[in-house]
């Protein structure tokens, strides 16, 4: 596979492609009919398998156009010493295994790629406002600039999720940083009412989650519920599926009533 610099792909596609290919590579050997070509980008690679799987399905499932010949099985079996047989059979076996994996993994994979693509512009807000600490041992985030970056987006709800997706070096730090981001958003909105009109604000990230209904059975803030709903929202923003709630309702309208589905 190309490296990122000359791949002509955006970073999100490249990263997901590498993860996918690396994950799949372990199943593949040169005799696989559709094998890894290091110069091939992952989209072509996935498409090869999707085509393989589609053709296999077309050649397997009866339809109005495809009745298939029926014959007695045992009586029709014969032995072959076709020299290519072993190689072909083994290659097909591996390809089928991968195709089966893709059949089950592709929905998740394609969704993940779509979510990643959907969030990438907002993840960039974090990247652009991340700095090395003075001792060069860690990073710090300019949450005020990040908050400003979010508020300048058309879809604040998605922007907040994109930032959430990227920020923090572990889950605990992510939540702390998000508290600062949400708090900085409130400060900016309250300090600049003419610029940020009709933007709803929250005291903290917890307050945001609870106010919007992203809660567990005991009513506590639930990042799992948040991630589940927002992944669906991010997919819908890419034209896949239905919005789990009205677009940007949690920031653009004062009324918060629907909650996460």
């Amino acid at each position: 596979m190309d490296n990122y610099d000359n791949s002509g792909m955006n970073k999100a596609d490249y990263v997901m492609g590498r993860l996918f290919v690396d994950d799949t590579k372990k199943y593949l050997k040169p005799e696989t009919p559709i094998f890894i070509d290091d110069t091939k980008n992952y989209v072509d690679f996935v498409n090869d398998f999707v085509d393989f799987s589609k053709n296999a399905k077309k050649n397997s499932v009866r339809s109005d156009d495809n009745h298939f010949e029926e014959k007695k099985y045992s009586a029709s079996k014969h032995s072959t010493d076709n020299k290519k047989a072993a190689k072909i059979a083994l290659g097909s076996l591996l390809a089928i295994t991968v195709a089966a994996g893709i059949t089950y993994g592709s929905v998740r994979l394609i969704d993940e790629i779509s979510i990643y693509r959907s969030l990438e512009p907002y993840r960039s807000i974090v990247t652009e406002n991340t700095y090395r600490t003075e001792d060069n041992q860690g990073y710090w985030y300019d949450t005020s600039r990040i908050a400003e970056g979010i508020l300048n987006q058309e879809d604040v709800t998605l922007a907040v999720y994109g930032v959430y997706n990227k920020i923090g070096y572990n889950q605990g730090n992510k939540l702390l940083q998000m508290d600062d981001v949400i708090s900085d958003m409130r400060r900016l909105v309250n300090g600049n009412p003419d610029i940020y009109k009709d933007i709803k604000t929250y005291d903290s990230f917890d307050d945001y989650l609870i106010s919007c209904g992203f809660v567990d059975s005991s009513g506590k803030a639930s990042v799992k519920q948040y991630e589940k709903a927002m992944d669906q929202y991010a997919l819908a923003a890419k034209g896949k599926g239905d919005m789990p709630f009205e677009k940007d309702v949690y920031f653009r309208n004062a009324e918060v009533s629907k909650g996460a589905k």
């Binding site: 499932v61 295994t97 059949t103």
Partner: protein, 79 residues
Amino acid sequence: MKEYNAIELEGKEYIIVKEINFNNVTYVYLANSNNPKDFCIRKVINKDNSDVITGLDSDKEFTMALRLFSEKDNTFQQN
């Protein structure tokens, strides 16, 4: 030289890569001996007291057969 089971379907020879029995139906995984990209799944059912190889009924059955394949021991079946 090793021998492999094969069957002729639609005028083409397919190597029998795997047979998996599930719910009294045998799913047969086939690879065209001259074109490894031509792969298909058929099933063997009992029809008029004979084992008849036929196509799958639906996309759902195809997906289920793939799942069966991926969950079983994926070793090549040879004579």
